[in-house]
């Protein structure tokens, strides 16, 4: 569906707009979402409303379900229960307004494509089924490579790029999507200082143009510098909100330290019981 055809006034499909704890103009509203892998719950009862025009960090220990949260919002892993809405609408109506940057390790960098080919993949939804990538799309892709400082790398095969350059290709692909809401899975993982600066610059540009970016992030030190809001996660949402009020030592202690052993044990028990 074309974004311009979405009527901003009425949300017939919205199930969450009426609820007091959710707002219909939030780019992402998650209500009571539970996700399981192989029947073992990894996320319990997540409630979340993303702020508009903000950079949001998802922070938590390994195995806390951060990537799973993103993938479940995007429908890439099935939800056991819960509702996810974007601007008060279900995913299928707003797919094109949502960009996704998976972890760099998620793809095979030996794949026979050039940097520009990968960036242009960000425009496939716009191009549509069975239509070729046009000259205009390739130009738009090249401009996105330029924005992340990779001009001149268009025709490099992707395995010939450094890790930081590969991450920037992914970022350029996200830009090429021209989305309003971005999910990024550890965009800063294993990148050099120049790439980290380039990524931060692009994130700030996105925010300045009214986009929301939700990043899984590992470096606690840079959270206050790079992000506006934070979501502390450990199998459930420990706390979420503006960095200034939520990113406190007590909340971090609750996220990383005091293990919710009961919840982890419950997961194991559920998995055992359901496996039979």
């Amino acid at each position: 569906m074309n974004a311009s055809r979405i009527r901003p006034d009425a949300h017939p499909a919205s199930m969450l707009a009426g609820r007091p704890e959710h707002s219909a103009d939030s780019p992402l509203s998650v209500h009571a979402m539970t996700v399981a892998y192989q029947r073992k719950p990894v996320l319990w009862d997540v409630d979340y409303d993303a702020p508009r025009d903000a950079l949001v960090a998802i922070v938590g220990p390994n195995g806390a379900g951060k990537s799973t949260f993103i993938r479940a919002c995007l429908g890439l892993v099935p939800r056991v229960s819960g509702v996810v809405e974007f601007w008060g609408r279900p995913l299928r109506e707003v797919r094109r307004r949502i960009g996704y940057v998976p972890q760099r390790e998620a793809v095979d960098w030996d794949f026979p494509v050039s940097a520009l080919d990968v960036v242009c993949m960000g425009r496939y939804a716009r191009i549509g089924w069975m239509r070729p990538v046009s000259r205009a799309d390739r130009d738009a892709g090249a401009a996105c490579l330029d924005r992340v400082g990779l001009r001149g790398f268009e025709h490099r095969q992707i395995s010939q790029l450094s890790g930081g350059q590969q991450q920037r290709v992914f970022l350029a692909r996200a830009l090429a999507q021209e989305s309003d809401l971005y999910f990024m899975d550890e965009p800063f993982a294993g990148v050099d200082a120049a790439t980290e600066r380039a990524i931060v610059d692009v994130l700030r540009e996105l925010r300045a143009s009214g986009r929301t970016v939700i990043c899984v992030h590992h470096d606690l030190q840079t959270v206050p510098r790079y992000f506006d809001a934070v979501m502390l996660m450990n199998m459930r949402v420990v706390a979420s909100g503006p960095v200034g009020t939520v990113f406190t030592p007590e909340n971090l202690q609750r996220t990383y330290g005091g293990r919710l052993t009961l919840l982890a044990e419950a997961s194991e028990a559920v998995a055992r019981a359901e496996r039979g």
């Binding site: 429908g75 996704y100 095979d108 080919d117 990968v118 993949m121 496939y124």
Partner: protein, 439 residues
């Protein structure tokens, strides 16, 4: 039509066409299987269609091509689903899942053949492996000019027509869905999030593989099908870094293997004075294997020989630079240069340095020329800058950094070719109190 031409058209043309069409069809799809590391799926499908064929025969009571084709395709898709289920629930690796499914299915097919349909149907294991290429004969009208008429070609053996139709379908699907298949193979998460459902496209790919496998294996046998799903695509991958070039190259290589393989199988033994032609599909498979071997060895940039060549050239450069640097250090300390050529490789290195005008021999002792001294200064400068960097910024002990700097001093920027230099250190000398030469 003269007799020789008619003989060729009648006996050789149908299997030549069938073989080449099968090769090309499988090669196109093989590109996607190889890229997704699922090549064994073709192996699995081509073996497990046997029970499908037998059951279709038992149900329909005839060898009509349509029920056979449908039965085989259903069996192929059943295999794909079963492999996926096993992989997910039996906790085995994909290769093991495919292996167990196809061996059990094939065995079931053999048992069914023996019990139920064995006596009336001319399906046998040999046929499954090598196909029926040798039995494909075509009798077009003999008068001259008959080949210019469409109606003549309609009478080509059914296998050729089936393969032609499947090839057209595969070409159409891959042509129209080129970008969709590419994004799903590269990044299924992004593809699905953009509305190109990865599972759906994967299923479509598997349906195509099943159809291609069934159509091909009836004509050319499962051995050739398996080889063609892997060899041309893997060979083409060695030759290019662009997917569409790879697909086109794989088609060219597959057609070349099909045609040369068939002609070699049909005529080479006679030319060599041997009594009879050898199995055409066997020969095509061997040719495909040879093509793959050649491309693994001799591909211009990814080939083993080219890689080895680059490595040797690189180590010769490193050895030459080490020689220049040691001569520079000897000049610096005022000591006489030692005789450097102790190993045979040192003599080669010395000769190369002399040929480049970087070193000359004075009474048999090597000495730097002016040009050589400029290069050597750059190397020693890089070495000492690296040592300073490792000590000052890396916090390493001064006696630990020489070996690392020995390796890092040879680093050059891949784009400009200039020697890589760490930033200027705080102290004017290196950690061993030696001056850092100017650029």
């Amino acid at each position: 039509m003269n007799e020789g031409v008619y003989g060729f058209v009648s006996i050789d043309l149908p299997p030549l066409l069938a073989g080449t069409l099968a090769c090309v069809t499988c090669a196109i799809l093989g590109n996607y299987l190889v890229l997704r590391r699922m090549s064994l799926m073709g192996d699995a499908i081509s073996h497990s269609v046997l029970p499908g064929l037998v059951i279709a025969f038992m149900l329909s009571g005839s060898r009509d091509p349509l029920p056979m084709f449908v039965g085989a395709t259903i069996a192929g898709l059943f295999t794909v689903g079963l492999v996926e289920l096993l992989r997910r629930y039996a906790r085995v690796e994909p290769g093991a899942a495919m292996g167990v499914v196809f061996s059990v299915m094939f065995a079931m097919g053999v048992l069914l053949l023996e019990r139920g349909a064995g006596r009336q149907v001319d399906l046998d294991a040999d046929c499954v492996l090598n196909g029926v290429m040798e039995t494909m004969i075509w009798f077009p009208p003999e008068e001259a000019g008959s080949l210019a008429r469409w109606s003549t070609w309609v009478s080509l053996p059914r296998q050729v027509w089936t393969l032609g139709v499947v090839l057209l379908v595969v070409l159409a699907a891959v042509g129209m869905l080129f970008k969709e298949l590419r994004i799903v193979a590269f990044d299924p998460g992004l593809a699905t999030s953009q509305g190109f459902h990865a599972g759906l496209l994967n299923t479509l790919l598997m349906v195509l593989v099943a159809c291609a496998t069934v159509a091909s294996f009836e004509a050319v046998g499962s051995i050739l099908v398996i080889a063609m799903l892997i060899c041309p695509a893997a060979s083409a991958r060695m030759l290019t870094d662009r997917l569409w070039v790879q697909v086109v190259l794989s088609v060219v290589l597959a057609a070349a293997a099909g045609i040369t393989g068939y002609l070699l199988g049909a005529y080479a033994p006679t030319l060599l004075g041997l009594p009879a032609a050898v199995s055409a599909s066997g020969m095509i498979t061997v040719v495909a294997g040879v093509i793959m071997l050649l491309s693994v060895l001799f591909a211009p940039s990814h080939g083993t020989v080219a890689r080895r060549f680059r490595r040797v050239r690189m180590s010769l450069r490193v050895a030459r630079e080490d020689l220049l640097a040691s001569l520079y250090r000897a000049e610096e300390s005022g000591a006489a240069a030692r005789a450097v050529a102790s190993r045979p490789v040192d003599a080669i290195v010395l000769r190369r340095a002399i040929a480049r005008g970087q070193v000359r021999l004075a009474n048999g002792v090597p000495a730097l020329t002016d040009r050589g001294r400029d290069v050597a200064r750059g190397i020693v400068r890089s070495h000492r800058l690296w040592e300073s960097y490792l000590v000052e910024r890396g916090g390493l002990a001064p006696d630990h950094v020489h070996g690392t700097a020995m390796r890092l001093e040879h680093l050059t920027d891949s784009a400009s070719g200039a020697r890589f230099e760490p930033p200027q250190p705080d102290s004017p000398t290196d950690p061993h109190a030696r001056p850092i030469p100017p650029r």
